[in-house]
Every structure is written in C-alpha cells, then in structure tokens.
C-alpha cells in the first residue's frame, strides 16, 4: 500500500481495528453488504465467500426471518424445492458472514449509509409488488393478486388478514405462469394433502370451508405460448379428484406444428394434447373439481360475479384483441400477470416502468449508461420476475463474479477500511435468533404433523428470537 493511500486512509478513521490494519499495512478486510436474504442474496454470498478469502459479507434482511421466496413463495406442497435452505444455512453459518434480520433498507438504514460503510453493496431485495390489469373495478374486494394469495397461505407478515372470499363456485385466475398454477393447485388440492405441509393454520381453516369447484386459468395467447412449465402441469393432471378440461378449439392447428418445436416446448405441448385427447374418457367422479385452462382471451372488464374477456388471435406471437368477447363466471378473480419490484430508497436508480433497478449485467447504472461503481443488483430486482431457481442462481453467481472482478481490477477502491453496519441499539435478529425461531416453528409444527408452523407476527418473531 502506497504512502499516499495511507495518508488518505488515515483521515477520518478513528475506530481502532481499522486503523490498526492501516498502520500495519495489511490490506483491510473487504466489506460487502447484501440487501435481502432470498435466493439471489444467498447464492451471491456463497460465491463471494469462496472467491474472496479476505472479505466479510453482511446480509441485511427486512424481515426477522431469512430465505425470501423460498419461505414465502415456494408452494407448501413443494417441500423438496426448499432443500436449498440447507445450502443457504451453510453459507449463513460461514464465519465471515453476518446476518442482520429486521433491518429495512430505506427506513432503518439508508443506501447512502450502507455505501459509506461497505466497499460494495449488492441489492437483492426481490419483487414485492404485482402488475395490475388496469381495469375498472380492479380494486373491488373480489379481485386480489395471486402474489398476495401466495403470501397469505405462506404466512408472510402482513398478509394474514387477506380473507379471500372462497364462498363462490368459480375462481378465475388471470395469467398462466407457475404462480398461477400454484394458486390453482392450492385451491383444488384435497385438504388432507395440504394439512401435512407448512401451509399456515388460518389458510388451512379457510380452505377447509372453501366452496370453490372450478378454477379457470386464462391466458392471452395460445397453447404454444403457455407460460407454465411441464412439471407444474403434470402435477395438475395427477391431482386426485380434479378433472382438467381443455377447449378443443384452442388447439386447432397445434397438432401439425408439434414436430417443429424445440424439445421443452414440444414435450409440454404433447402433454397438453395427450390430456386433451383423454379428457372426458374417465368421466370425473361425482363431486370432482375442475381445472379449466383457457387460451386466447385478454382481460376486458370486471363485472359483478363475472369477468369479460376479448377473444384474441395471434399475430406473430402477439395476442391481438378481436371484437368478440366472452364472459366467465368469476366469484373470485386472482390476478397473476407478473411481479415487479419497489423502490425502497430514493438513491436507487429505479426503472419505474419495468419495475426493476437500472443495471447492466448486475452493475447498477448511475444514469442511462454510466456504471455506479460499488453498487450491484441480482435476482428479480435486477432481471425482472422470471425463471426458476437455476436462473436466479446463475445470475447471482455472475454478479458476485463481477464484484470479484471489479475488486481485482481496482474498479472498486478497497484500500481503506470500512466499518460495516452498526447494529448497536437496534432490534436486530442474528442468525442465532433465526435458529431460535426455526426451532420454535419446527416444534410447533411437529405437534400438528407439519414440517413447521410459521410464526406470522413480526412481534412474535422478535420475541422468540430474544430481541
């Protein structure tokens, strides 16, 4: 370290460990802060800790509890997907990682403060808003977002009072992604299958009184553009006491195109066609529920007890509305047309239109083109809400690698010691605090034959964590 640097570094440094490092001429510990303890944050942390032997990674999380959408998004009947928690836990227990739960960017700490206290800040706080249909009556009580419905059955603090009205026979889900299919499956699954999952107790109670018999899953485009993945569809087709009914007209001409498709699209289309051919053969047992995928319909209006759609036709892969319309009985409407992120701190260069942070390959932009050194983004906050865990993992690894590259290339100045987050006098949940919550939840679940009974109230989480 050069003398010039030394003298610059000394200025304003009064904390002794940092000063000691400078005086001894040892390169200071590289401090990196990750905002958001979901999959993107943990995968980035894993790579950073491995690649940079002299770094400390601090993860700050808005909620007292970690894991983001693995805890609050992944469907309760997909416990295997949650196995990634084991890897995340290993990362969290790394001696050079510190977890600060219950710290909210924008309210408890500002981005400016974090950037002063760390060499690099990586934003991975995800997407907690949803896109709207922008139709009249959308704000009425029987129209709710699938995101909120998922948060409700998964016990996200604040979602417990959603009270979805399940007294009607028909539910219409607008959108056909995997979130839409998850919601359909939760509404149609036999309750006994859900009782052994970590679905919140209040949701199980509400679902036990559900009168829902038919779930429409409506998409603007055709079967060849279906957004759900094949695993999720196969699961629906195997659901006991649920009859899947396709519309033959939706598939006109599809048969002849199948051979030309790429393997994933081809296998998905073949499964739909197979199911279409078999439908009605084993006529549904009395009392069975119906899953009704509907293609080529665009949302047009929301009326009392029904929803109106424009019939669409495809032009180059785009759905174009025609003058024809169709009304679907809809006692409850679930909007599932995508998530978007929110801007939690005014210093974030946020793309309001697309609902994500302006960035190029994870490096946050200052304006339209220039990179803001030291600030990064990964996961849905940077890419938009698409992809499976593999997508998020690869993306987070790539951004973490960019951080390492920037440090190696001195794009990031790491010559001065940084103090890191000052958690003193704050109600911060440490990893040990989370372990207490985890143990409490697991024990509460055991009594009911569930993997865990989630605590939903933040106050109770803090109490159990001993904060």
């Amino acid at each position: 370290m050069g003398l010039n640097l030394l003298s610059i570094c000394r200025r304003g440094l009064h904390t002794s460990p940092a000063r000691l490092q400078v005086i001894q001429g040892v390169a200071p510990t590289k401090r990196i802060c990750i905002v958001g303890a979901g999959p993107a944050g943990f995968y980035a942390a894993q790579l950073l800790l491995k690649q940079l032997s002299d770094c400390v990674v601090d993860v700050v999380e808005k909620l007292p509890v970690p894991f983001g959408l693995v805890r609050f998004g992944v469907a309760p009947d997909h416990p295997e997907v949650k196995n990634v928690i084991n890897t995340f836990t290993k990362t969290a227990e790394h001696p050079r990682l510190r977890y600060f739960g219950n710290v909210s960017l924008g309210t408890d700490v500002s981005l400016k403060e974090l950037r002063e206290r760390y060499h690099a800040v990586l934003l991975t706080y995800g997407a907690d808003q949803d896109r709207e249909l922008e139709l009249e009556n959308e704000q009425q009580g029987n129209v709710i977002s699938a995101r909120k419905f998922v948060a409700w059955y998964n016990g996200l603090p604040g979602a417990e009072n959603l009270n979805p009205d399940l007294n009607g026979r028909d539910v219409t889900i607008v959108g056909q992604g995997n979130v839409a299919v998850d919601v359909a499956r939760m509404l149609l699954s036999p309750l006994d299958a859900l009782r052994v999952t970590d679905t919140t107790e209040y949701a199980l109670e509400a679902l036990s009184r559900s009168q829902v018999e038919r779930v429409h899953l409506v998409g603007r485009r055709g079967p060849l553009q279906a957004a759900f993945t094949i695993k999720e569809l196969r699961e629906m087709l195997k659901l006991p006491n649920v009859d899947t009914r396709w519309r033959t007209d939706d598939f006109s001409g599809v048969d002849s195109l199948v051979e030309k498709l790429q393997r994933p699209r081809k296998r998905l289309t073949e499964l739909m066609l197979k199911s279409l051919k078999e439908q009605g053969r084993a006529s549904g047992a009395a009392g069975s529920k119906q899953f009704l995928p509907i293609f080529l319909r665009a949302p047009k209006a929301i009326n009392l007890g029904e929803m109106e759609f424009s019939v669409t036709k495809l032009q180059e892969d785009y759905a174009v509305a025609t003058d024809n319309t169709e009304r679907l009985p809809s006692d409850l409407i679930l909007r599932s047309i995508g998530y978007k992120s929110s801007c939690v701190d005014s210093d974030i260069n946020f793309d309001t239109r697309r609902g994500r942070v302006h960035n190029t390959e994870g490096r946050v932009l200052k304006d339209t083109e220039k990179i803001d050194p030291g600030l990064y983004v990964a996961g849905w906050l940077g890419t938009g809400p698409t992809g499976v865990i593999l997508t998020t993992m690869s993306g987070a690894f790539a951004v973490a690698k960019s951080i390492c590259d920037d440090i190696a290339a001195n794009v990031l100045d790491t010559s001065c010691a940084k103090p890191g987050y000052d958690a003193a006098d704050k109600r911060v949940v440490t990893w040990d605090g989370w372990k207490r919550i985890d143990q409490f939840e697991s024990e509460a679940g055991k009594a009911k034959g569930k993997p865990r009974e989630k605590i939903v109230s933040i106050q109770e989480m803090l109490k159990v964590a001993g904060v």
Partner: protein, 152 residues
Amino acid sequence: MLVINTCRNASRLALRSLNLRSPIAQRTFSAGLALKQKDVVNVTFVRANGDRLKASGKVGDSLLDVVVNNSVDLDGFGACEGTLTCSTCHLIFKTSDYEKLPDKPGDEELDMLDLAYELTDTSRLGCQIILSKDMDGLEVHVPSTINDARAA
C-alpha cells in the same frame, strides 16, 4: 456428511501411513484395499473451460453423491438434493456412454432437464445416474452456465 467425509479421509490417510511403516500391515491392508478398489468408480467432471475435476465414488452412489462426498468444486450443484425439483446437477454424456446407461430418463427427469441450460440429447441429471463398476473412468461434461458464471 462433512463428519463422515472427514472420517473417511482420516482413515485413508491412516492406511497410507501404516502401509509405509510395516510390511505386515501393508499386506493385510493391501488385501483390504484391493477388495475395496473393486467397488471404486473413478469419474472425471470436465468443465466448459477444460478443467478436469477427478473424483471417485462407490458402486451404488449417484453422480450427485460423488460431487457432494468429494466436495467437487461445482458451485450450486444439486440444489434440491436429488429430489427431481431442479436441474442444477445437469451433466452431458458422450453419446456412447449415454447409450450404455441402464435406465432411460423418466418423465420427471426430462421435465426438469427441459429447464436446463445447454440441453442436449445426451443430457442427464447427475442425481439419477447410479454408478456401476463398468462406469469406471467415465467422463462427463458440466454445462458452462452453472460454473462459468460469465456465460449466464
């Protein structure tokens, strides 16, 4: 798992040092080793950048087990721990090796492979491939996107 690995490594080291010290012990232990070696299957994981990572497992282990038990340096490999709910243990086989595999991929495995990057006709999930003795010397290609993050 970590504890087991450490124990295994420790016993291997102990064996080696014993062999050096005493000819009797050597005889005894080399017989044991010979028996044991019959069950050992050596596998090479070839990364997109050409790096060759050698590891070995026992007959009956899956390729995912081999990666985990040997701490093979493949970040993010086996995220769902072999439950067929992700495709992070995607491996690409040589055609001749692929054709020799005793079981063809089932629907559930193909469903997951369909979400993988760099899908090929000889792609499999490592968690579904169980080692047999005739696989000794197997070479599998690791798709770049898992471990060469720049390609993501």
